[in-house]
């Protein structure tokens, strides 16, 4: 393309993006089309990728196409394999796309569609994508080292220890909140519970099929598993309509919580091939297909958004979770804009597959843009619902009221009309007994997705099938995070305990496997149980805790990145990572302060404990609130330590008191560059 045409094209993209952002930001009182959100996001991502990521690649990181990557230098056909950039991109995206970008934006929709959309777009372009990009490059230049190893080498032993502590604490909270979302989605839902329960024998069958009948044919096996899951969705309808069967799958929240804890323990202790790997394949298959389908659905149906741009709940009185727009919208959206967990993937498998340094920009920055687009789609799914319906689904009984009529009256009183009979009809149309008090984000997302699809594909007649398909899709890959995370947590504990007593570190010694699996399940199981028993629905306390933990891990990753940048004598470009770091520190420290010390009992853990104690409340609930306050405090102390240690390094280097020494592997000229020109 001619340079002048290219310039015109980019001006047109930028103008279209600006028009879309202005439309979503300035429209008030009228419904707008979902395509405006998608256009604003896609145009901004295109400009961000073309200009900002290129600036980072050229000026800050100086990506070098002639430098051999570890995949080339250490190629062993096992971990280190030079791989086509599109293949690595797909692999990386499949690994980073999880339930977070679907759930966070749905919860944050209580503020209206505008704050979430703007933060998802801006946060991804200037924060999330930058973090994934720089950490991936720094790991590639260090032979694929992990974030904790890089923290130890670049910041010091304190950095390494704190990074390790942060990862394990964050993992425990993540697993608890994931499990709670599944519990809230499946409680009193025989159809959903049956479908998800069936995925366990389906996975076992896939494991045996792969091992015995068609070794290595994973795609074929996953396709068969997918067909069986579709059959299980049909079967779920039958189960829910057959009282003799349905009663076994109509489970209370505590019963589901126990079942999930037992499942997590089994997935951690059983051989990988039998349960964990086939479920992972199945969930990835469903995930990639459904995300593609949802994108097509939104573009093809281009639904109208019924949620206003801003709701009255920006003042902090929201029923979904308590707290003002700042800082709570930012820690709630979490993964759709920036996720600390991505730094673990960017310093895990992906750096060992990168063929050329210059491809890192597309994989690191580009894959996060796609994840951010998934978050935009989740916002759309939540905002196509009538606000009354959205709040009826997401408000806990402790706030809206136990009875449908009471809840409908309360929600209508907030200015979002809804009727008990309307909600009953909606519940009936999706095959549920009730949709009131289905907190956690997953049911609201499923209703929104079913609403989008049923508007043309099959109509209202198949609304129930779409709803349960969406619910199964979310629960399936949330449980995949749960079982993989439990196993990783078990290994981290075994690693640490191995220093105390060697046999405990042996990963194939069954007493150690059972003990450490029990320990990690007990840890996240405790927080899950706490969420299940919480009269405010659990999400109100656990999701912000998860958001804080996740964003703090991102802060750790950006500390490591900034330290390396300063050591590379690129301090004048350090704002690229320092600005998102400063923002994250401001947001998370403010949110943590509110969660611990706010005088509103719905926000502050200590205030709620005091209120419960004054009313002679349950001692366990009082203890749980104090425990949450301590956990938040410990996370903040750990990140403060790593911040101080990093700042000391920066000052020492910039003032010349310390030599800037990066621990990159030495430069080796690539052979691939010669081969490929």
């Amino acid at each position: 393309m001619k340079p002048s045409l290219r310039v015109l094209l980019w001006i047109a993209i930028a103008l279209l993006g600006a028009l879309a952002v202005a439309t979503i930001a300035l429209h008030r009182g009228e419904q707008i089309n979902a395509l405006w959100l998608v256009t604003a996001a896609v145009c901004t991502y295109a400009v961000g990728y073309r200009f900002y990521s290129k600036y980072i690649a050229a000026k800050l990181l100086a990506l070098d196409a002639h430098r051999a990557t570890p995949a080339e230098r250490l190629e062993n056909g096992r971990d280190f394999v030079p791989t086509n950039k599109w293949v690595v991109f797909g692999h990386h995206f499949a690994a980073i796309a999880g339930p977070g970008p679907l759930v966070g934006p749905v919860l944050a929709a209580q503020f209206g569609y505008l704050p979430g959309t703007l933060w998802i777009i801006v946060g991804a372009v200037f924060g999330g994508c930058v973090q994934d990009f720089v950490i991936l490059l720094f790991s590639v230049r260090r032979d694929g080292k992990s974030l904790t190893e890089m923290a130890k080498e670049e910041i010091g032993p304190v950095g390494g220890l704190v990074a390790y502590g942060s990862v394990i604490s964050i993992l425990i909270i993540l697993l608890a909140v994931c499990a709670l979302i599944v519990v809230n989605a499946l409680k009193q839902s025989p159809w959903g519970a049956f479908t998800i329960a069936m995925t366990i024998p389906i996975a076992l069958l896939m494991g045996v099929y792969l091992r015995r009948l068609r070794p290595g044919r994973v795609l074929e096996t996953s396709a068969i598993g997918f067909v069986l899951v579709l059959a299980a969705i049909w079967g779920g309808q039958w189960a829910s309509q057959t009282p003799a069967v349905g009663k076994y799958f109509t489970l209370t929240a505590p019963a589901l919580a126990i079942a999930i804890i037992v499942y997590g323990f089994a997935a951690s202790a059983l051989p990988v091939w039998l349960l964990l790997a086939p479920r992972d394949y199945l969930s990835t298959f469903v995930k990639l297909g459904t995300i593609g389908l949802l994108a097509l659905g939104i573009v093809a149906m281009h639904p109208m958004l019924h949620m206003p741009a801003l709701t009255r709940f920006i003042d902090g009185t929201g029923p979904v979770f308590a707290g003002k727009l700042f800082p709570f919208a930012f820690i709630t959206i979490a993964c759709g804009a920036i996720s600390g967990f991505h730094s673990l993937i960017s310093s895990g498998t992906t750096p060992k597959l990168i063929r050329r340094e210059t491809e890192i920009r597309m994989v690191g920055y580009g894959a996060m843009l796609c994840e951010s687009l998934v978050a935009i789609m989740a916002t759309v799914a939540a905002c196509v619902l009538d606000p009354g319906t959205y709040f009826a689904i997401n408000s806990p009984a402790g706030i809206a009221g136990q009875l449908p009529e009471t809840a409908a009256r309360t929600i209508s009183g907030w200015g979002f009309p809804v009727t008990a009979s309307g909600m009953q009809a909606l519940a009936h149309s999706v095959g549920e007994q009730t949709l009131f008090n289905r907190t956690g984000g997953a049911p609201a997302f499923a209703v929104g997705m079913a609403h989008i699809f049923s508007s043309s594909l099959g109509g209202q007649a198949v609304m129930a099938l779409w709803y349960h398909f969406a619910l199964m899709f979310e629960a399936l890959f949330i449980l995949t995070v749960l079982d993989a995370g439990t196993r990783v947590g078990r290994f981290m504990i075994q690693d640490a305990l191995g220093h105390v007593w060697k046999p405990l570190g042996r990963t194939s010694w069954y007493p150690s496997i059972l003990t450490t699996s029990g320990l990690i399940c007990a840890a996240w199981g405790y927080f899950l149980w706490q969420g299940v028993r919480d009269p405010l629905g659990g999400i109100n306390s656990l999701w912000p805790l998860f958001g804080i933990a996740n964003q703090l891990l991102a802060a750790v990753a950006l500390c490591v990145a900034t330290t390396i940048i300063i050591k590379m004598h690129r301090a004048k470009y350090a704002l690229v990572t320092l600005a998102p770091l400063a923002w994250l520190v401001t947001v998370t420290f403010t949110a943590s302060w509110h969660k611990v010390f706010d005088s509103d009992p719905r926000i502050g853990f200590l205030a709620q404990a005091r209120q419960l104690a004054a009313a002679g409340g349950n001692a366990r609930l009082i203890f749980n609130n104090r425990l949450d306050a301590v956990v938040t405090g410990v996370l903040i102390v750990m990140v403060t330590l790593i911040l101080l240690e990093s700042a000391r390094q920066w000052l020492d280097i910039l003032s010349g008191r310390k030599a800037a020494r990066v621990s990159e592997t030495p430069f080796v000229v690539t052979r691939l560059a010669e081969e490929q020109g």
């Binding site: 096992r78 599109w86 293949v87 290595g216 990835t284 298959f285």
Partner: protein, 55 residues
């Protein structure tokens, strides 16, 4: 055609089929129950140490 080949290659990488093919060529073994069992043993180690799926 190239587009579909790339998509298929990405899917094979995501679903670890390529990893198994590389294992077979590296170890000079045929596709079989035994070689797949060895491959699973080897890949489990990586799966256990790294968070393979994010939140």
């Amino acid at each position: 055609m190239k587009f579909f080949r790339t998509i298929l290659a990405a899917l094979k990488e995501i679903f670890e089929e390529s990893a198994y093919e590389r294992f077979c060529s590296r170890e000079k073994v045929e596709v079989s129950r035994e070689s797949y069992a060895s491959f699973v043993r080897e890949s489990s180690e990586a799966r256990n140490k790294h968070l393979v799926r994010c939140c």
